[in-house]
Symmetry: C3
Subunit: 155 residues, 3 copies
């Protein structure tokens, strides 16, 4: 980590964290177990409340989908901040990056890099993570990407 | 948690836990690491030993699939009880809810709610969990849903 | 565990661990949190550096795909050894076994057994794990299988 805070890095990148999703009756945006926190799957929620939709490799390009993954990463950061109090306590352990793609799609890693790169840009070394980047048959709301994560909180 | 035990809640719901699956040579229904337990993926196993099959959004409705997710949740509870000794020691941390759906299916969350709601009905606050609810290309035996979980055991 | 080391078992099986993948800018082959280690998804990388490709159930048979899962398991073992220093300290907790299959494919468990059986052959009781074996819509490079894991390191 450099001496900059995560909030300073976000500001330098011209990024603002979106409002973290609120709990639903039976499931919640995150669940903490000691210093480990499981983050529920997030998607590319647009300012109007809808989600970026379509099949990557047909309706949506790799570049567009990578932007959606970056937007999804902002939601993961928002939930992580809610869980930890400050992003400077957060380390990402693992991402599971899901792309709503056509059956012959091959470039899931480039799509999910949109999220992975953001995490390192904002959190530095603590943003580096284990991951899988894979293609789903379908996703909620027809959205293009969904990403879940496991993080660690350093107190 | 109210003062009712999980077993009392199950009885009030008219539910009986099925027999937990037995270990296979190389993999097991659950694996414990300290207080954390990883539960293998479970599916909607019917009384005759077969699984509810079909593609959700074509062969199977959302309502039917939600019932299958609820049945799958009973198997997760059965394995959790086997791991913990008593369901009153169990907290669900995370679900990964997989729906065997057609490519344009959009309502995975409603399907997986069949399981999520059951967990809260039986375990109360400790049933609330982080989750993803997503669509798979295919599932074993052609079954409609498969759900895996991470739980915590409170001693 | 018998008295044989994991390396002795590998030698008896005529197997050599491949070179573990190297870290990329934003994500890494494994991430450690205490004694728990998350392994990034691995695939069936061939000696020429390409991956075994195709849709299981159409281009690729179950038997071929199980061989690919076994090869993928060797990569998971290579990363686990890198993380732990010695395979004799490694216990597998959980596998998520993903098969790049046609929509009506039903035999994901037999495919992933190629990896699961290898882990027990090499690690004995510590190779037994919780798992899900499921079908994906698509995978990176069009590869036939991808498997990620959570392991525990015994010091």
């Amino acid at each position: 980590m450099t001496e900059k805070t995560a909030d300073q890095r976000l500001a330098e990148l011209g990024l603002t964290l979106p409002t973290a999703p609120t709990p639903i009756y039976t499931y919640v945006p995150f669940k903490r177990d000691g210093s480990t926190v499981y983050l529920s799957g997030q998607g590319p929620k647009l300012p109007d409340g809808t989600y970026a939709q379509g099949k990557v490799g047909k309706d949506v390009t790799v570049e567009e989908a990578a932007e959606h993954a970056r937007l999804t990463g902002l939601y993961l950061l928002a939930v992580a901040k809610l869980a930890a109090g400050s992003l400077d306590k957060v380390e990402f352990l693992k991402l599971f990056g899901m792309v709503n793609a056509v059956p012959d799609f091959k470039d899931q890693p480039t799509v999910i890099n949109g999220c992975s790169n953001l995490l390192v840009d904002v959190l530095g070394e603590r943003g580096r993570h284990a991951r899988s980047a894979i293609g789903m048959g379908s996703l909620p709301n027809g959205m293009t990407v969904e990403i879940e994560a496991v993080i660690k909180i350093h107190e």
